[in-house]
């Protein structure tokens, strides 16, 4: 948990002051967008909230709905 906060604080410190100083607002916006997603995911992982796996969804989509599958074994 602490690790998570430390790492994300670190990322923030490294990136944000530079961006603000150079007035790169667009970059800051994109950065924040991704940062929030990353942080949220990290929090979910640490708090043991199950994160849905995109590949499972894709597998379900391809196999069950489209019916394409290689024979097993």
């Amino acid at each position: 948990m602490i690790f998570l906060l430390l790492i994300y604080a670190f990322i923030l410190i490294i990136n944000v002051p530079g961006l603000i100083k150079r007035k790169e607002w667009r970059e800051l916006a994109a950065f924040s967008f991704l940062y929030v997603i990353a942080f949220a995911l990290g929090l979910m992982y640490v708090l043991d909230i199950p994160i849905p796996s995109p590949m499972k969804g894709l597998q379900h989509l391809i196999v069950d709905i489209f019916g394409i599958e290689y024979p097993q074994g």
């Binding site: 990322i11 950065f31 990290g42 796996s53 599958e69």
Partner: protein, 368 residues
């Protein structure tokens, strides 16, 4: 307009591609369970099928000089559809990168350090790759020489060390397996080591001279394919029938090296070599992913995006599969199917559409 200002030479492109394909050396294990002793054939077939496709990437890149994939998509498919296609690509980059990072983690977890918390390994590895990506494309291109040469050295020396344990009759009978398996094997091979080079569509725009691009790409693929063949042949000759039961065939082959009671227990060599090669592959991926996202958002620099992307990738890598079994099952099925349009269809489609619409137009109105 393009997000990357650096330039690379075609020789550097060659080594980047070779190192990238070499990074998939242990990933052929996905096919070994299916094609057993015919894996070498499947690698060659994969190369033959994918090489023209990759050369079409070069063609596409030459048609739109200096532009990377996202820009090309915008031009060819229009602003909305283009962004949709780009998002599909970005999804692919994200997923594939997380698979590769996870693969390194699984390797370490199974063989080398059992007790470490998985996430920690992933964080350390991802952090290193992300750091490399922040250094920029030119740096990555420069170090790729080193990695490719050392990768070749490791593969060749392992091969030589195991020669006395090789039994080449393990390759017979030559055409034993049912065709559907071979087909799946070829599918896996053309997508995973060779097809993933679609990421280079983000990089080929940065060539300083494009005349030698096609040759460099082809030779890069060739060197990569030879490395993969070296690994596949060594594993089949040494392990024979037992190939299909080990979690990692390369590791087990290396463990059998036993020369003069001095050269034993070399499995760490495989660990190091593989880590190093996958590091190059993942660094390239990180760079490509950040640059793609940066281009999509219209930024001037992709640098600030790298670290948050790393954070996302680590969590995805940690949670996307439950175990190596899951990983293998999904990769052999859905994993290679959803990437087929991206690798085979879209670039060729883009070339055709661009030709029809006469793109790129010299100035002004580019889309209807």
């Amino acid at each position: 307009m393009s997000i990357e200002k650096g330039k690379i030479s075609s020789q550097q492109l060659l080594f980047l591609i070779a190192g990238f394909v070499q990074g998939s050396a242990l990933l052929i294990d996905f096919a070994v369970g299916i094609t057993e002793h015919q894996t070498w054939m499947v690698i060659i077939a994969g190369l033959i099928i994918t090489a023209p496709v990759v050369l079409s990437y070069v063609l596409l890149s030459k048609m739109f000089p200096g532009m990377n994939l996202i820009q090309i998509n915008d031009m060819v498919y229009g602003p909305f559809l283009g962004k949709a296609v780009s998002l599909y690509y970005i999804f692919f980059f994200m997923m594939t990168l997380s698979f590769n990072v996870r693969d390194v983690g699984e390797l370490y977890m199974t063989f080398l350090v059992e007790d470490m918390p998985f996430v920690f390994l992933l964080v350390v590895f991802a952090a290193t790759c992300a750091y490399a990506a922040t250094k920029g494309l030119e740096v990555l291109a420069r170090i790729s020489h080193l990695f490719v040469v050392s990768g070749l050295f490791v593969i060749i020396s392992n091969f030589i060390l195991l020669i006395d344990q090789m039994d080449f009759s393990n390759f017979l009978p030559l055409f034993e397996l049912p065709f559907i398996r071979i087909f799946q094997g070829i599918h896996i091979m053309s997508v995973i080591p060779f097809g993933e080079t679609v990421v280079f569509l983000m990089i080929m725009g940065c060539l300083n001279r494009t005349e030698l691009a096609a040759k460099s790409t082809f030779f890069g693929l060739l060197i990569g394919a030879v490395s993969l063949l070296g690994v596949a042949v060594r594993n089949t000759a040494v392990l024979g029938k037992t190939q299909t039961i080990w979690t990692s065939t390369s590791f087990q082959s290396i463990r059998l090296i036993n020369i003069g009671t001095v050269l034993t227990r070399m499995d760490f060599l495989v660990g190091i070599a593989q880590t190093v090669l996958v590091f190059l592959k993942c660094s390239i991926f990180f760079y490509v992913l950040s640059a793609a996202l940066g281009q999509l958002f219209g930024l001037t620099s992709y640098l600030p995006l790298v670290l948050p992307i790393a954070g996302i990738e680590v969590i995805i890598a940690a949670t996307v599969f439950q175990s190596p079994v899951d990983h293998a099952m999904i990769t052999q099925n859905a994993g290679i199917i959803y990437s087929v349009p991206l690798i085979f269809i879209f670039p060729l489609l883009s070339i055709v559409i661009a030709r029809i619409r006469g793109l790129p137009k010299p100035e002004g109105g580019k889309e209807a």
